[in-house]
């Protein structure tokens, strides 16, 4: 763990530099050979060559999207872990991704929606419905909100939404073809437009998250204590929920459901930054972006010349980590 605030700040800057390097690498590496000179040329001196088109239409959007989605999912996970005081909280485990996917597929199947803007709104609605449902189910009963109950309620809601999604897809093959590529969870083949239409919401989510940090530090000590210290806990929870919905809904709208970033990254961030959410949230953002960029580059090579969906890569790294956390124990 990094001890002083100066060191933590330095760590963040180094992290940011690594993210930028990885973004550059993400443009460089892949099936088509690209050199750094070509990247620069494609901006200053676009010559309509294949390489330049690939750089501008494929690699650069992909690199930006991986960074934005990775950071957003990781922040959403960190906030959820703070709000519910549950080390296993994350958009996948709580069914938020599944809810967003369900709404998007519903829109495509029954409402004939194809515009990107509406995709985003549907994803937000789904993320909101799922997180509110899971939160309410998790707080039912005399013992209030317990980590175990909310986790299991999340697993059940996720199963419910994903089976309904598959049911709709099974009935409507054209919709299936439209959304199957999206449902596997990938940052490949997404246009810059999708990112641009969602980016404003993500930015709002990032800012809310950064402002929330120190309030979450108080909230995790217990709701009673937080209230005693004069915190308006419902406001913090509402703001947190808003950030979670914007970030995970937005990420799903762009990249489809990508699991396990939200759960794994905040734990790694704590390892560097300690337990203060003021630091955990920015560290999560940086490390989340790094992980998704790395996983996306790796996804181009594991089954070369084909590409593996990055969601699969992340799951394979994330699951052992998840099991480790589950075994270490959460308060039952």
């Amino acid at each position: 763990m990094l001890k002083s605030n100066a060191l933590k700040g330095l760590g963040l800057i180094i992290g940011l530099v690594i993210v930028l390097i990885l973004m550059w690498a993400s443009v460089l590496y892949g099936y088509t050979d690209i050199t750094s000179q070509m990247i620069i040329d494609s901006f200053t001196n676009f010559d309509e060559s294949n390489e330049h088109y690939i750089i501008q239409d494929n690699r650069i959007p992909r690199s930006l999207i991986a960074a934005a989605v990775g950071a957003s999912l990781a922040i959403a996970g960190a906030i959820m872990q703070g709000l519910t005081n549950n080390p296993l909280a994350s958009p996948t485990i709580f069914g938020v991704n599944a809810g967003a996917s369900f709404f998007v597929v519903f829109g495509v199947t029954f409402l004939g929606i194809t515009s990107l803007q509406s995709f985003a709104w549907l994803a937000f609605a789904g993320a909101a419905v799922a997180s509110v449902t899971v939160y309410l189910l998790g707080s039912l009963g005399s013992d209030g909100l317990t980590p175990i109950k909310i986790t299991l309620a999340g697993a059940a809601i996720a199963a419910l939404f994903s089976s309904m999604t598959q049911g709709m897809l099974a009935m409507n093959e054209t919709a299936l073809e439209q959304v199957l590529f999206w449902l596997t969870g990938s940052v490949q083949g997404r246009s810059l437009e999708i990112l641009m239409s969602v980016l404003p919401y993500l930015i709002v989510g990032w800012f809310v998250a950064l402002l929330l940090g120190k309030h979450l530090n108080v909230l995790v000590m217990g709701e009673e204590l937080a209230k005693g210290l004069g915190q308006k806990t419902y406001l913090i929870k509402l703001a947190g929920a808003l950030a979670v919905v914007l970030l995970s809904g937005g990420a799903v709208a762009i990249a489809g459901p990508i699991g396990f970033i939200g759960i794994v990254i905040p734990h790694i961030a704590r390892w560097f930054a300690g337990i203060s959410y003021s630091w955990v949230i920015p560290y999560s953002a940086i490390i989340g972006a790094m992980l998704l960029l790395l996983a996306d580059i790796a996804a181009r090579y594991v089954i070369y010349p084909q590409e593996a969906p990055v969601g699969v890569m992340i799951a394979l790294v994330g699951v052992p980590f998840f099991i480790y956390i589950a075994r270490r124990g959460i308060n039952e």
């Binding site: 299991l152 309620a153 059940a156 809601i157 089976s163 099974a170 093959e173 969906p309």
Partner: protein, 350 residues
């Protein structure tokens, strides 16, 4: 001996059969048969129950004979068998782990079976989309996946000499996610070009079943069920807890191993042909316990019948609601099952 039970002797083997259980099981069997007859008549060509029976014994019109015996019968038998297998698998797990939330899909066994099934199909499908290996080996493949994942989850959940129900479910959720991830990777890599078809199969579907598949799954399910009956008594002991079972002279660990093996092979058999039909293994044993109580000798057949009926019913709904489109059975079972799971979750916490 009292007048509530009567003995049955088959050579050297003898059972005491509880009269009440006997009546309930008979009643449920009749109900299941009625349900299957109704289901046989439903579809684009509607056939009345009397004509269905006539067609089953080969006395109907040529068209009815064809539709009932060749098209509908296999899928309905598969629904029944797969539902029964998943339900028994769930009943064993719930007794073994003494956890009302346990079921083959929740702790990842179904996911493991799906994974090896997809791998089998990917390896042994040639370019012209035909299997190069006999389909008879398919249940073995999914059985291996079910067993590997089942034991993996079991051992990973083991900590300080015991398994808490919640740790088991959590680790199951995690391992199931990993299995899903690898499954989609194999689907992309393999020659199963129609990812759409595989998606539907993974949800749990009995569409397009043929007699060949029934001829493979039926002996598998019946064979394991037979072994299970011999073990049912031991399962009763397991439910009393490890210490008591040990004191009663049981080889607890060996029996656990056997029972887990039986449970996973039942789930594996079901998944091989019907895909991952969700939540049946969870719901059926609970419903059965309400009907008959928790002695396993009777609980297992009742669970099997209830599970089979749930899937047959889900299949009827799936075919009727959006005719001519078909909704995979797994969708309906999850629609009922997931809320039921949440209900159980809260009940077990009170």
């Amino acid at each position: 001996m009292n007048n509530k039970q009567f003995p049955v002797r088959l050579g050297k083997v003898s059972f005491l059969i509880d009269k009440k259980s006997f009546y309930i099981i008979s009643l449920l069997t009749v109900l299941a048969i009625v349900l299957m007859i109704v289901s046989l008549g439903i579809g684009q060509l509607f056939i009345s129950p009397v004509d269905v029976i006539r067609a089953v014994i080969g006395q109907g019109t040529e068209m009815e004979n064809l539709v009932v015996n060749s098209f509908r019968m296999p899928r309905i038998l598969l629904s029944m068998l797969a539902g029964a297998a998943l339900a028994m698998s769930g009943a064993i797990l719930q007794g073994l782990i003494r956890n009302p939330l346990a079921s083959p899909d929740i702790i990842g066994i179904t996911g493991g079976a799906a994974l090896t099934t997809v791998i089998f199909l990917a390896i042994y499908t040639d370019r012209s989309n035909t299997l190069t290996m006999s389909i008879q080996w398919l249940p073995l493949a999914s059985f291996i996946g079910a067993v590997v994942i089942g034991f993996l989850v079991y051992f990973l959940s083991w900590k300080n000499g015991r398994i808490t129900p919640f740790r088991l479910v959590l680790i199951g959720v995690g391992v199931a996610a990993a299995a899903d991830a690898v499954t989609s990777l194999v689907m992309i890599l393999g020659p199963i070009h129609s990812a759409a078809k595989a998606t539907i199969w993974l949800t749990g579907s009995v569409n397009g079943t043929n007699w060949n598949e029934i001829a493979t799954i039926a002996p598998w399910v019946f064979g394991i069920t037979f072994i299970l009956f011999i073990y049912a008594r031991r399962l009763n002991m397991q439910e009393l807890g490890e210490d008591l079972a040990k004191n009663a002279g049981q080889l607890v660990q060996r029996d656990r191993f056997m029972l887990l093996l039986l449970s996973t092979s039942l789930a594996g058999g079901a998944v091989a042909f019907a895909g991952g039909i969700g939540f049946v293994g969870l719901m059926a044993p609970h419903i059965a316990r309400k009907i008959i109580g928790s002695a396993f000798g009777a609980l297992i057949p009742v669970s099997a019948l209830v599970g089979g009926m749930i899937v047959v019913l889900a299949d009827i709904l799936g075919r009727m609601l959006f005719m001519p489109l078909e909704v995979p059975v797994g969708v309906f079972t999850s629609l009922i099952g997931a809320p039921y799971f949440i209900y159980l979750l809260f009940k077990s916490h009170k």
